[in-house]
């Protein structure tokens, strides 16, 4: 039954049709919010051919899973997803709709919020039930301030970054309900195919060790040295904005608020001064190691370990010693 305090999450599936790790994190967080608000948690799963995925997701603590299954929902087209989800939520008036802040979520979230007239908070790093309402935390001013926000509307829609919630342990299955997807007859936006960049490296967002270079690296050759270090740890190479702008590193490896947000166990910042927008992309990392020739560089203020020196002279011996240690 519709309830003003119910929480809905919108599930995203991997290409292999499993709930994404972020979706499971939303389930954990959604459960907490629902408990705090005295409502139930539901998950909505739009897509095609998702019977197994729905059963899989139903083990993660929701009261029920709603499946919107239609061939037209195979790929994410906002012109189809929006009316389908708008139709689903009209008459349900949940307290909160929570979506992963992914490529799809960052596109769908605002569209759905505007269509439903819901308050909207994107790219959240925290969410809690407090004083009878949902409070959402997000960085502003490039991460130099953290704002806690509330919606003045009955429903709030939030998109959440990775690692805000934690995935619950799977347990008993809950009810899976197939809902008819009201696919529109006419659409304006057409999808014309995807191109994938080939990368042999570990995806930046999943790497346990990230080695990142800044302006001081000086060229594409320097990034080869960073790659050598990253490879030792099975990690990934990142870059701040200047090297990307200069074409020394591909845009897909930019770390920062305008690039990728990472939180590896070890973050090694090489020749990076530490601009606000870069720090916003890495400040949740486990241990931060900085190598920079400028002792005043701000990066040292947000690092656990630092070496003041020219990276060209520091890095080779550091890499060599790390190799020895890892081989012991």
């Amino acid at each position: 039954m519709p309830d003003q305090n119910d929480i809905y999450i919108i599930a995203e599936l991997s290409e292999e049709k499993h709930p994404t790790p972020l979706t499971l994190e939303l389930m954990g967080l959604g459960k907490e919010l629902a408990a705090g608000m005295g409502g139930d948690l539901h998950a909505v799963m739009p897509g095609e051919g998702m019977e197994a995925a729905a059963v899989e997701l139903s083990r993660y603590g929701a009261s029920g899973i709603f499946v919107l299954d239609h061939p037209a929902l195979c790929d994410y087209n906002p012109d189809i997803y929006l009316p389908v989800l708008e139709g689903f939520f009209t008459d349900r008036s949940p307290r909160a709709i929570i979506i992963s802040h992914t490529s799809i979520g960052a596109d769908l979230g605002p569209r759905l919020a505007f269509a439903l007239g819901a308050g909207l908070v994107t790219d959240c790093v925290g969410a809690r039930a407090e004083a009878g309402e949902i409070r959402l935390v997000r960085p502003v001013y490039g991460g130099n301030a953290l704002a806690t926000l509330r919606a003045t509307t009955d429903t709030v829609l939030a998109t959440l970054r990775a690692r805000v919630g934690s995935a619950p342990s799977p347990s008993g299955e809950s009810e899976v309900t197939l809902v008819e997807a009201a696919v529109p007859a006419e659409i304006r936006i057409g999808l014309r195919g995807r191109e994938r960049a080939v990368s042999a490296e570990c995806p930046l967002e999943e790497a346990a060790v990230v080695v990142t270079g800044g302006r001081g690296i000086g060229g594409a050759d320097g990034f080869e040295q960073l790659r050598e270090l990253a490879r030792l740890f099975g990690g990934a190479v990142g870059a701040s904005r200047p090297p990307v702008d200069s074409g020394w590193a591909p845009t897909t490896c930019q770390v920062g608020i305008t690039g990728k947000v990472v939180a590896p166990d070890i973050y090694i910042a090489v020749a990076i001064s530490g601009s606000s927008q870069h720090l916003s992309g890495m400040s949740d990392s486990g241990k931060v190691v900085a190598i920079n020739k400028d002792p005043e560089a701000y990066i040292f203020s947000v690092s656990d370990y630092g070496v003041v020196g020219d990276w060209r002279q520091v890095l080779p011996s550091f890499t060599a010693r790390c190799r020895d240690i890892l081989n012991e």
Binding site: F114, D123, T251, S276, Q313
Partner: protein, 266 residues
């Protein structure tokens, strides 16, 4: 083909500025920015660059730059206009201070100005503003204007009355298209805004500029915002850094690795 492109430009504090220039006042729930200049949101600059690229390839294109806010720097806007716009709309009013409007209210203000501008084929703006990084207003504006929106474009082309973009994806890009009029949010991959020459900056002063205040527009922002700030705090990002001291940089590199092993980091 003639094409009228409106480019949205938000004034923000320079996002490449050091963190020390942002002073957080938790009492007033306000951030005061010190010592760094205002700039046009870099992603909006990318949007303007996309518009200028279309001008070079499509034929007859006119570009109108639109900035709304409070205390907009004329010099900042002039430099952007000089890069390749043909006209500008400046909506400057304390009522439109970005800090007091949420994305819904901001989109409503912009929709009112677009209404006033009249005919347009394409609206381009950044994928997000570099201060809030919320990425909402473009999609909100498209919703209010009932036009299709494509987001996070790394390239924009126009042909046969349709806009075609390459949308940035985590592992590459996706091609998508929509009929005009449409709104497109633009990403950094499209390229930095070109620098205007001094002559162009001088010439830009003579280009038509419409300056409006809240009273000139058919929009009441009071009560429009759907989100409000409950608290504002400075994040605790600072860590205590163990600086490795050694005889020379090579020794420092070795000692850094040793220290990480001692502390069981590696």
């Amino acid at each position: 083909m003639t094409l009228h492109i409106v480019v949205l430009a938000k004034q923000v504090p320079d996002p490449e500025g050091p963190p020390t220039s942002f002073e957080v006042d938790p009492e007033e729930r306000r951030v005061t920015v010190r010592g760094i200049p205002p700039v046009v949101n870099p992603f909006d600059e990318n949007a303007l660059e996309a518009a200028i690229k279309l001008k070079e390839t499509v034929g007859e294109v006119t570009i109108t730059l639109l900035s709304a806010g409070n205390g907009i720097s004329k010099a900042v806007i002039l430099k952007a206009v000089a890069a390749g716009a043909d006209a500008s709309y400046l909506v400057d009013d304390p009522a439109f201070d970005p800090a007091s409007l949420d994305s819904h209210a901001s989109a409503a203000v912009l929709a009112a100005v677009i209404e006033r501008i009249g005919d347009y084929d394409l609206i381009l703006c950044g994928r997000q503003a570099a201060d809030t990084n919320a990425g909402q207003v473009g999609l909100g504006l498209a919703h209010l204007l009932h036009i299709p929106a494509l987001t996070v474009a790394q390239s924009v082309e126009v042909a046969d009355g349709r806009a075609v973009v390459k949308k940035v994806m985590p592992d590459g890009y996706e091609k998508a298209e929509a009929p005009l009029p449409a709104l497109i949010t633009v990403s950094g991959e499209i390229g930095d805004l070109r620098y205007p020459s001094l002559a162009a900056i001088k010439a830009a002063k003579a280009l038509p500029q419409t300056v409006l205040a809240a009273s000139d527009l058919d929009v009441d922002v009071s009560g429009l915002s759907r989100v409000e700030t409950v608290a504002l705090e400075a994040p605790s990002r600072e860590r205590s850094c163990a600086l490795i001291e050694a005889d020379g940089p090579e020794e420092a590199g070795r000692m850094l690795a040793e220290r990480l092993r001692e502390d069981r980091v590696i």
